[in-house]
């Protein structure tokens, strides 16, 4: 081997190392994009500048192909190093949701590695010129493979599809089998554009006044999340299974219903959430009502009667409505008093019983969610009186308008999980209840399709009224909010824009004031934004 071959060899090692990091990064993003090829392709396109550095490999490959010259080899080596360094730093960045090495990810990696080796091998017969030593060919091949690695992740996914499908089918059938063995189990499906996780928690807490309840944990609301809950958590002691059902596309709810066969259902709300994938609001309505369609004849569907898209739906078997504003609902909360200490309201049942409830949860939207949970629990045989204590004991769901005291003069209102216009408005209304210096920290809302800018601008307008100070995270993403703020005449000296969350929170802490600080953390974007 000549000296230049040693440089090629070092280069090969660097390229392979960088391949590992490129693979890791792209897999991570692919996982955050829900293993969806189309979503991920769009993401790659939108965020192409993030991986534009891979062009170095193109240049590198050209250099390797052109001539076997010491200077070019060295140049290639430097280029490979830069790419390696870039992806290495990227991998060290703190992630909110880390890459989880599930079995599926491991299978993807395996396929991806086999693909990489095969593709690298293709270069050998393709380059028959005399000057091409074995090592030079290997470098050329590896470099080219690395260049297209972001696409190889998707290709691996396509190749693995049949395997994944049969594995998923096995799990789904197993879950169905387990459910079949529990003929007396009530399954309550919960869906909605927003509020479904809160209602899930509230409902489980209230039902436990009388029943043994299993619920899907955290935000497990996909078919496989539900299957996992059933396979690992469903014990014969349970009377009721409360199942959250999430949707991004038409048919998603039906898919989950086909697995769990719900006995009853709740639709908490319908709104412009995930418009990017749904395209139209009609598609969203159709999808959410797949839950009602899946119920047996005697199944009850509980509906938020305040929601304009829900209340006018016709042709339902046994609808039971709940709400605040609509006077025609079956379960209605009236005489609502809201303060910074909590909320009180009276629920009127279809039997015209009236019971006063108290909760430390904040905001009118929480009242709607609690009334929904009360409606289901009462209908399933728990007297309203017996729900007073569980309602009083309800805890805010983490990152959903959760109050966190920070020392004697700072209160954080953590609403980081929120990301929809109605929820953001509710959070601002809640913030306005507090007497003190009101600070908003937000990166804005995403996945709202064509109307994203419109909703963000609206959000800015609302914030101008209820906030004393606004801190925006991410210049590009929050442009529309800024416009909204300024159009309402918000004082620009009270506006701070940063790219880092840590900086935002530090800035909020350092604002000088004698008043109590209330810091609203509104929305929190995952790493793929």
């Amino acid at each position: 081997m000549e000296f230049i071959d040693y440089i090629y060899l070092v280069n090969l090692i660097v390229v392979i190392l960088s391949f590992i990091f490129v693979l890791r990064y792209n897999l991570h993003m692919f996982q955050l994009n829900g293993y969806k090829n189309k979503v991920h392709l769009r993401w790659l396109k939108i965020n192409r500048q993030k991986q534009a550095i891979l062009v170095i490999f193109l240049v590198s490959a050209v250099l390797a192909a052109v001539a076997r010259i010491f200077a070019l080899a060295l140049l290639m080596l430097i280029g490979s190093f830069i790419v390696l360094l870039y992806y290495y730093i990227l991998s060290k960045a703190k992630a909110k949701k880390k890459l989880v090495y599930t079995n599926r990810v491991k299978r993807l990696i395996a396929t991806n590695l086999i693909l990489a080796v095969i593709l690298t091998g293709l270069i050998f017969p393709a380059t028959t010129l005399t000057d091409f030593t074995f090592i030079r060919k290997a470098v050329l091949g590896a470099t080219l493979v690395n260049l297209i690695e972001p696409l190889l992740v998707i290709l691996s996914n396509i190749l693995n599809k049949p395997i994944e499908k049969s594995i998923n089918n096995y799990y789904i059938n197993d879950a169905k089998k387990i459910l079949k063995q529990c003929p007396n189990l009530l399954v309550i499906g919960i869906t909605g554009s927003y509020g479904k996780t809160s209602v899930k928690h509230f409902l489980s807490a209230l039902l436990q006044a009388k029943y043994n309840v299993l619920m899907t944990p955290e935000s497990y609301n996909t078919p496989m999340g539900v299957v996992k809950t059933i396979r690992s958590g469903l014990k014969p002691v349970y009377d009721i299974f409360v199942c959250e059902m999430g949707a991004r596309n038409i048919g998603d709810i039906k898919e989950i219903c086909d697995i769990v066969s719900p006995t009853h259902g709740i639709i908490t709300s319908i709104g412009p959430q995930h418009l990017e994938s749904f395209k139209t609001i009609d598609n969203i309505i159709k999808t959410k009502f797949e839950l009602a369609d899946a119920l047996p004849k005697e199944g009850l569907i509980f509906l938020n009667g305040d929601n304009e898209y829900i209340k006018n739906k016709e042709g339902l078997n046994h609808p039971i409505y709940y709400g605040i504003d609509n006077p025609n609902v079956d379960y209605r909360a009236v005489d609502i008093t809201v303060s910074s200490k909590g909320t009180e309201f009276t629920v009127i049942s279809p039997k015209k019983e009236e019971v006063r409830f108290q909760t430390k949860l904040l905001g009118r939207h929480n009242v709607v969610n609690i009334v929904g949970a009360i409606a289901v629990s009462n209908t399933l045989g728990i007297p309203l009186e017996d729900l007073i204590i569980p309602v009083r004991r309800l805890q805010p769901v983490q990152h959903r308008l959760q109050l966190i005291e920070k020392g004697s003069n700072i209160t954080i209102i953590d609403d980081a999980f929120n990301s929809n216009p109605a929820g953001s408005k509710a959070a601002l209304d809640t913030l306005a209840l507090f007497d003190g210096l009101r600070i908003l920290i937000t990166p804005g809302m995403v996945e709202l399709g064509d109307k994203e800018d419109y909703y963000n601008k609206e959000f800015g307008r609302q914030a101008a009224v209820s906030c004393d100070y606004v801190i925006l995270v991410g210049k590009r993403q929050t442009q529309a909010i800024r416009e909204g703020l300024i159009s309402e005449g918000f004082d620009e000296s009270k506006l701070y824009i940063t790219d880092y969350f840590d900086d935002a929170i530090n800035h909020a802490y350092n604002i000088h004031t004698d008043k109590h600080k209330y810091i609203l953390l509104e929305n929190d974007l995952p790493d793929n934004y």
Binding site: L90, Q208, K406, F501
Partner: protein
């Protein structure tokens, strides 16, 4: 899928055999449509065994044979499930595993009924039938029990307690007792059930021998005034500290001053396999409606104040000379689970057992709710840093 219930009986206790009878009797009466029952025999060395023979009362005539034909198991908690796993484990052989949903201890006496077994089950995290650790422990200690009941206004007989430290100077003990009470007095080990070591003393000589006898069974004894002319009335309670109901009242019929171990478990019992249900007794006890209600409501009050759960039998004393009613003692796991007191009020044994299991599940979910509310509030600035991360790579 039926709920898997491990019925546990036996254990290192003087009431070992009685517990075996109670346990197997309960298994025979449980609702087989709802429950898969796994009988678990705890030996006098506190080792657990399962197998077909374990559920068969005849097999207990020859314990060595029984153990030979059964499999030893240990109870372990694994990934949120509690399992019985065969032990010792064999090389190259996957151990037999049985997942259990609820434990149903039917054990009597010190070392098992007194919170010991309950604490073990609680550590494993499995829902179990009956009183929790605290109530079980208090229910077994006659002195602590009296102190708590006194505090909530339930009449108990005044008492003195002595430890092995005091025992060094027995003359001082006699002097203290004679100063406090007139004869007759009753001497009891502070923490034993089933009348073991309990004696009535009518004079000093009898007192000394009663004390000697009691210290054979416990390191702490209790002395109270003995009521010569008395009636014993028992009443059971079912529920938890929020809601509880009382059963019918019974009057056990006695051969001597105190319902002895022989009376309770050996007399009148053909083959000795009927346990507490076979003691000669009068159900319902002959009582005025007023007295019956007084006893029943006092039983419920005591049950709630002691923080009991499941079913407990409370034994009262009526002083026939004065007409006074006293709380005497509580059995947190009564023999035969006191089913004979529930049938007269319309709760068959099968339903009683189902209700007990439901109470166990209810307590478990109430405990989980409380723990849940702790989880949600631990969030400090440092975890924010980790949670939010920096928006790098833009």
């Amino acid at each position: 899928m039926k709920i898997k219930v491990a019925v546990m009986f036996g254990g290192k206790s003087v009431e070992h055999e009685v517990s075996v009878i109670s346990g197997i009797q309960a298994i025979a009466n449980m609702d087989k449509d709802k429950y898969d029952i796994i009988p678990v025999y705890i030996t006098k060395q506190n080792e657990m065994y399962i197998g077909d023979a374990v559920g068969d009362i005849e097999a207990y005539k020859n314990i060595d044979n029984l153990l030979k034909n059964s499999r030893r198991v240990i109870m372990v908690s694994d990934k949120g499930q509690v399992k019985l796993i065969s032990y010792p484990m064999k090389l190259f052989k996957k151990p037999e595993e049985i997942i259990i949903d609820v434990a149903f201890p039917i054990v009597h006496g010190t070392n098992v009924e007194d919170g010991t077994l309950q604490g073990y089950l609680k550590t494993l995290g499995i829902p179990f039938v009956g009183c929790d650790v605290t109530a079980s422990a208090i229910g077994m200690d006659k002195y602590y029990m009296k102190s708590i009941l006194k505090d909530c206004g339930i009449p108990v007989l005044d008492c003195l307690t002595f430890t092995t430290g005091d025992y060094k100077n027995i003359d001082k003990i006699i002097e203290d007792i004679e100063n406090a009470f007139s004869y007759p007095v009753i001497v009891k080990p502070v923490n034993l059930g089933s009348s073991v070591g309990i004696k009535m003393a009518n004079n000093k000589d009898e007192l000394i021998s009663a004390i000697d006898d009691a210290f054979l069974y416990a390191n702490k004894i209790l002395v109270e005034h003995g009521i010569k002319n008395l009636r014993e009335i028992n009443c059971a309670v079912l529920g938890d500290f929020n809601e509880a109901i009382a059963s019918e009242c019974e009057e056990p019929l006695r051969n001597s001053d105190i319902l002895s171990y022989e009376d309770k478990y050996l007399s009148n019992a053909k083959g000795g396999s009927k346990g507490m249900a076979s003691v000669s007794r009068k159900i319902p006890a002959e009582l005025s409606e007023e007295m019956r209600e007084k006893i029943r409501s006092m039983a419920v009050k005591a049950f709630k104040h002691l923080g009991c759960n499941g079913v407990a039998r409370i034994d009262f004393i009526i002083d026939k000379d004065t007409g006074n009613l006293y709380f005497n003692e509580i059995n947190t796991i009564p023999g035969s689970l006191a089913f004979y007191l529930w049938e007269p009020v319309g709760i068959p044994y099968k339903e009683l057992l189902s209700r007990l299991i439901e109470l166990a599940l209810k307590r478990k979910r109430e405990e989980e709710n409380i723990t849940f509310s702790f989880d949600t509030n631990i969030l400090n600035m440092s975890s924010f840093g980790g949670l939010k991360g920096a928006k790098n790579g833009k």
